[in-house]
Structures are given as structure tokens and as C-alpha cells.
Symmetry: C3
Subunit: 209 residues, 3 copies
């Protein structure tokens, strides 16, 4: 705890990143819950959007601290980028929730249920990777979390292929195809956005040599 008083600003950044990442994870868990229950309505969409607004507040807080701090634990622009990346994951989860509501897709199919699990697992690994950023000794563990996110991205990719293949084979109504195709692609894009954040984390490690 002594270190905390020696470099409070650094700790502030790590605290805020942890807070931002945990908020993303909460959103992913809530999304999984909604998919399991098929519970996309005005109230649940609004509740998800509240999480998204909270993420925005944390992201702006990071920006503010950055503007008032001279020495940062890693490159200023990377702090900004990582915070943006985490925000993008949250935006993606919020967007897919809104669209499920808008399209009135109240009975998520088996593919969407699998996607929700992959998204939650990916966000969990992201939280873990972010938590390790405060100590260079965690290098190897961070790389493992990033590899796990990479693995989940491949799972998401295959899931989308199978889902879309099935969709075109079983559904004949083009409007239904348009809706579900977009949902599968947005779900896969959400897993992708986790990988983008992981790549920024890896790039930060790479810079530290």
C-alpha cells in the first residue's frame, strides 16, 4: 500500500481501466442473461443502455485524468486507445441488444445463445488481461489471456459461418434472413472488438520491449 502513495496517478489509471473493463464484463453477462431468457424489451434494452452510459463516464474520466497527468504508466496515446477499445466492446454489446429489441427477436436461437457465451468469456478474459497491466511481471499471463481471446474469436468466426449457412438453407423469407444475418454478424463483430482491445494490450507489451 506504500506504493499507492508514491504513485497515486498511476494507480488511478489502473483503477479506472479495471472499472471500465468490469463494466464491459457486466454488460456481456447481462446480454447472456437476456439471450437465455429471450427477454429483449423496452425495459431491458434501457437497462443495457444505462451500462453503456456508465462506460462512457468512466472513459471520459480516463481522458480527464490523462489531461491532468504528466507521467503515465504507458504511452499517453495507448491509454486513450485502450479506453476507446473497451468502449467499443461496450458499444457493440449495447448495439446488438438494441437491434434484437428493434427487430423483435424475442426468441434467440441456439446460435445466438452460443454467441452470448463466447462474448461473455471473451470479456472475462479481457478483464483479466487488463487487471494484469499494473505489473510487468504479468507479461506471460497477459499473453495467455490474449491468446484465449484470439481462440474465442476463431470460435465466433466458425459460429457465424455455421449460423449463416443454416439460415440460408432453412429460411425462405428474405426479411427474416436480413435480420438474423445482421444479428450473427454483429455478434461476431462484438467478439472481434474484444480482439482489437487485446491487440492494443499486446502492442503496449511490445513497446515495453
Amino acid at each position: 500500500m506504500a506504493a499507492l502513495s508514491l504513485m497515486p496517478k498511476e494507480y488511478k489509471f489502473f483503477d479506472l481501466f479495471n472499472k471500465e473493463a468490469e463494466n464491459v464484463y457486466l454488460a456481456s453477462r447481462y446480454f447472456n442473461e437476456l439471450v437465455t431468457k429471450g427477454d429483449f424489451n423496452e425495459d431491458t434494452v434501457a437497462k443495457m443502455h444505462k451500462l453503456e452510459r456508465e462506460g462512457d463516464i468512466i472513459s471520459h474520466e480516463i481522458s480527464d485524468v490523462l489531461n491532468k497527468t504528466f507521467i503515465t504508466p504507458f504511452d499517453r496515446e495507448d491509454i486513450f486507445l485502450l479506453s476507446n477499445n473497451l468502449d467499443n466492446v461496450l458499444d457493440a454489446i449495447d448495439a446488438i441488444t438494441k437491434r434484437m429489441g428493434l427487430y423483435k427477436l424475442t426468441t434467440p436461437d441456439n446460435y445466438m445463445k452460443q454467441f452470448a457465451v463466447v462474448i461473455e468469456q471473451s470479456c472475462a478474459a479481457l478483464v483479466d488481461a487488463v487487471k494484469c497491466l499494473d505489473n510487468t511481471k504479468n507479461r506471460t499471463r497477459i499473453r495467455e489471456y490474449c491468446l484465449e481471446i484470439n481462440r474465442l474469436e476463431n470460435v465466433g468466426d466458425q459460429l457465424r459461418e455455421n449460423a449463416i449457412s443454416d439460415l440460408f438453407e432453412k429460411v425462405k423469407d428474405p426479411i427474416v434472413i436480413i435480420k438474423w444475418k445482421e444479428m450473427y454478424e454483429t455478434a461476431e463483430g462484438t467478439v472481434d472488438s474484444c480482439e482489437h482491445a487485446a491487440k492494443t494490450i499486446q502492442s503496449i507489451l511490445v513497446k515495453q520491449g
Copy 2:
């Protein structure tokens, strides 16, 4: 004007950025005009594309000056990135214009009219932010313009949600749905591309500490 002779290269960059941003704004204003009149035809699409070509020329000029200049007002790669970001906004406006012509959507609906206003406002704020870049004292004003662009991006987001919701409720022809859905998404993507440029500007400020 004394300063101009002291650091002509710096002024050159700011002049070119202003020129590039103003060209983007001209395109956004012209797009708004076309949407208001429902005037998408071979001639107007060609006139928009001429603006896009002019933007390319300015962007290449920035690249050229960059290759011949040793000291730059901010990081070389950020000059390159910001110029690319402005070019992306212009490309997006040109692309949506082309597509309106290609799809023969000569009677833009109320949503597209609102989008055209949001895009023009967003480009206007971008021009203002870019104009302030030549003086670190403008920091607060730049942040305000970026916040405004951020606000407009949220407006665009909501607009797209409403537009697509209405589309699926009122239109039954899947081909018409495909066309307008794409237009709304491209319009929202154009507002997004303004936000990307704003984020680069904020990242430049952040680096300056």
C-alpha cells in the same frame, strides 16, 4: 505575419489541414443540398466526385510536405493519420452520394434529410476543431468541438435506429428494405467517420500532455 516567416513549414501544415477540412465541409453542404432537392443524378454525382478528387490532391500535398519537412507541429504519424481521417469523411460522403444515384433514390425521406443536417453540422465542428490546432491555447475550445461531434454521433445513432425500425414496419418489399437500410447505415457511418477524426485530434492533444 512575422511568425509566418519564422516557421513557414508549420504554417503550411495548418493551411493544408484547413483546406482539407473546408473541402470536406463543402461536400457535406452539397450533400445536404442534394438531399433537400432530391437531386441525385449523373451530373450531381459527378460534381460530388470532383470534390472528392480535390480532397485527394490536398491529402497527397500534405503527404509530400511531410516527406520534405524535418520539424513538424505534431508527430509525423498523427499528421498523416488526421489527413487520412479527413479523407475518409470525404470518401464516405462521396460514397453515399454515388449510392443514392445508383439506387435511384431520388426522393430522400425525412430521415435522410435529418442525417444530411447532422453530417453537415458534424463537418462544420470538424472544420472549427482543425482551425484551432495551430495554437495550444485553443485546447478547451477543441475539446468542446469534439464533444459536439460526439453528441452528433449519438444523434446519428438514434436516427439510424428510428429509421430502420420504421423501415421494417412500413416496407414489405425486401429489395427496398435492402437499399434504404444500407443508406441509413452509410449515413450513420459518415457521422462516425467525423468522430474518428475528432478522436485523432483528441489523441494529438493528449500527447501534448
Copy 3:
């Protein structure tokens, strides 16, 4: 060859980049072959995916060498970014191949044939640009290759416009429209991803001043 023993690590990076770029080119040539023959089936899709996996291995190797190397020929984060960009081109070619198979589009039309040529040419210019990175004297040649990639991106853009225009005019089945529209857009996106890699290369040159 003396230089090789003086700075083996540098050469290692250039070797790996050449290897990664050449693998991307192989994929683009194979894609062109498949389009010409209309030969999208389980076997050919699997063979393309094998190339994609090989690219991943090279990309991870670059990452590993980067983590073990202190002095690098250009900024660490740019090595990471360029390798990612090349990987994105490969991913795009693999994705479009998979999707052609999934949609059972075994008779590629004339537009797709033109796209396959543009993609192959673009990847060829990318290999050439990457090969030149080991010597600052190649600056002008690199810029020419990047301009060529830029030109091909414009060709791809026009190709997509023509293809989609034709599609909506000649085809009435919305499901067929959905499939081919996506293919044309993905093909154009592949040419785009070559341009992203070219922009990273140009940004590296720009940094070197």
C-alpha cells in the same frame, strides 16, 4: 552477407515480413484460380484455410521475435501493425473464399473474375513494397508501389459500383441479391485491406522523415 552477421535480428524481421507477404500473395493467386475455374468446394476452401493458418504462424513468429528483440529496424508498434495488416488481407481472402463456398456460388460472374485479378495485382504490389523495406534507398520505389495499390483500390471501388448497379437491375430474387451484394462488397473490402497495409508502410516511411 557480412551485414547479415552484424545485424541478424533486423534481417530476421525483413525475412519474416517477406515470408508473410508472399504467403498473402499465394492466397490471392489461388483465389484467382478458384474464381476462374468456379471451383469453390469443401476441398478448395480447406486448402485456402491452410494458407490462412500458415499466415497466422508467421504472424505469431514476428510477434515472438519482437518480444525477444531490443533494437528493431523501425518502431516496434509499426512492426506489430504491419504484420496485423498483412494478416487482415489474408483473413479477407480466406473469408471471401469460405463465403463463396457457403453460398454455393460455383459460377463466379465476370465482375468477380475482375475482382480476383485486382486482388492478385494488389497483393503483388504489396509483396514488392514489403521487399523494399530493408533499404531506405528504396523510398521512391515503395511510394510507387503504394500509389499502384491506391490506383487498384479505385478500380475495385468502381468495379463494386458497376457490379451492384447491374445486380439490382438484372436480378429480382432478393436472396440472390443479398448473396452477391455481399460478395462484391467483401471483394472490394479485400482490396481496401491491401490499401490499409500500404498506408502503414507509408506511415513508416513518413516517420523516418
